[in-house]
């Protein structure tokens, strides 16, 4: 591999940097409480919450750093932060 001066790279290279590995707590959904309000998607600072087929939300664990904002803000307590086990 040859590096380009100036740290110049093609777009999209950060996709390879799976920041999910930084996580120590993992958000998990209990969909029975979910009202599909979408606050978790709106407030996720990493944009790794997306709306699934049935309107429920899902997390991309490759990039979720486990900040817990979604769980903190969820009005119905749908999201629980559980200790990451590796």
């Amino acid at each position: 591999m040859r590096l380009c001066i100036g740290g110049i790279v093609e777009p999209g290279t950060t996709l390879a940097n799976k920041t999910g590995g930084w996580r120590s707590f993992k958000p998990e959904y209990h969909y029975e409480r979910c009202t599909k309000c979408g606050l978790c998607e709106l407030l996720c600072p990493e944009s790794c919450v997306t709306r699934g087929d049935e309107g429920y939300y899902e997390i991309d664990y490759d990039y979720c750093k486990g900040c817990g904002i979604c769980a903190h803000e969820c009005p119905t307590g749908t999201i629980e932060m559980v200790l990451e086990v590796k």
Binding site: L3, C4, I5, G6, G7, I8, V9, E10, P11, T13, T14, N17
Partner: protein, 400 residues
């Protein structure tokens, strides 16, 4: 100085620099006025208002940090960029200086050297640019307004070289050079066009072919990016002399490349300095030589890259070396030139004593008598051995 082809005009130093910048056809200028750099920014602003800068975008910013950040973006799009600043302004740019150098953006900036606060001083010394020594910028020091003006197209040519791609600071002493009126050969646009090719970088920010500049580098590759900056500096080291020669061929003026010498061939006492103090030293050398004292001068033009081999060669016959610094590393009680010159001689066969003098800080005048006194002391030290490593030459001890 070599023979002058051009007509001389009496102008202020700042005008000479601004005029030189104009002939280089910058695409983007961003500068925030700060004493004693203000007249450079003002003159460029006037050229812009008068339509003399062509398509140049003169961006007025709210701080020096913004000025340099603006140019980082502009330079990455392939624009030739220019800034000027001084003192606190340069200090405010500190973070962005490293970014410009790390992204390998050949921005050229004139630094009107001024002391740093506190206490507040608007007057000249070189603490501001010396404090940015390790930012990764080429640092050139001019002796007079003509040299500062002439360094401008040279700096672009060196910086924009594809093997170099490193930003450059042209340092000239504030007030002493920025505000002096003296005869200057203003750079002819046709000659600059002949001397300086258009800026044509390999990589540019282009929406059609997106790239990221200065991307994240984890520990497995960071060292290599820094080393590549060092390689760029090494290329600059090779190119500063030939570019000065090319400049001589086209414009008929020459000041040395990496360094310059004055009556050095048979000199026993060698003074090493940079900036406007050089003129005073030359006068004193002429005077003491009439009394049979063999004094000579080594003028450092390029402080970064530091011309290690050329300095060693120039100093090999010296009996004693005296460095003159308009800056201090507090806690080491010596100036940057003193440190560098001593370091340059170590690991060689030379065992020449080096004495460092600091003077002219915060705009204190440097009369010829002080240089004479320094040479007298050096003469004594050459015979009896040195008694001090480094000291102030003009300290008023009664005030302390």
């Amino acid at each position: 100085m070599a023979e002058l082809k051009a007509e001389l005009k009496v102008v202020e130093g700042s005008y000479a620099v601004a005029h030189a910048v104009k002939t280089c056809h910058p695409d983007v200028i961003a500068a925030y006025p700060i004493t004693p750099q203000t007249h450079i920014a003002e003159n460029l602003s006037q050229f812009n208002a008068d339509g003399e800068l062509g398509n140049c975008e003169y961006i007025t910013v709210e701080s020096e940090f913004s000025a340099l950040s603006t140019l980082i973006g502009a330079s990455a799009t392939g624009a030739r960029t220019y800034a000027s600043t001084a003192s606190q302004g340069l200090a405010l740019m500190h973070e962005a200086l490293f970014n410009a150098a790390g992204m390998r953006l050949p921005i050229v900036m004139t630094v009107a050297n001024r002391a740093l606060s506190a206490p507040l001083s608007i007057w000249n010394d070189q603490q501001d640019s010396i404090a940015q020594r390790d930012a990764g910028w080429i640092q050139l020091y001019a002796e007079d307004p003509q040299e500062a003006a002439d360094m401008t197209p040279q700096a672009y040519k060196i910086s924009e070289d594809r093997d170099v791609m490193t930003p450059a600071m042209i340092c000239l002493d504030g007030f002493i050079l920025t505000h002096v009126y003296e005869p200057v050969a203003l750079l002819e646009e046709e000659l600059t066009d002949e001397f300086l090719p258009p800026f044509n970088p390999e990589h540019i920010l282009d929406p059609k072919n997106p790239e990221t500049f200065g991307a994240f580098a984890d520990p497995s590759i960071y060292t290599e990016f820094r080393y590549m900056q060092e390689l760029g500096m090494r290329e600059a080291l090779k190119k500063i002399d030939p570019v000065a020669e090319e400049f001589r061929e086209i414009y008929g003026r020459y000041y040395g490349g990496l360094l310059d010498e004055y009556r050095l061939d048979d000199a026993e006492i060698v003074l090493v300095a940079m900036g406007s103090i050089i003129g005073t030293i030359k006068d004193v050398i002429d005077e003491v030589r009439r009394d049979g004292i063999k004094a000579g001068l080594l003028k450092i033009r390029s402080f970064r890259p530091f011309p290690l081999d050329a300095v060693r060669k120039a100093l090999k016959n010296a009996g004693i070396i005296v460095t003159l610094d308009k800056n201090i590393s507090i806690g080491k009680c010596e100036g940057a030139l003193c440190t560098e010159i001593k370091a340059a001689l170590y690991n060689t066969k030379l065992d020449t004593p080096v004495v460092g003098y600091m003077l002219g800080h915060g705009g204190r005048d440097i009369p010829k008598e002080i240089i004479k006194k320094i040479i007298d002391e050096a003469k004594k030290s050459m015979k009896d051995g040195i008694t001090i490593e480094s000291t102030y030459a003009d300290l008023k001890e009664e005030f302390v």
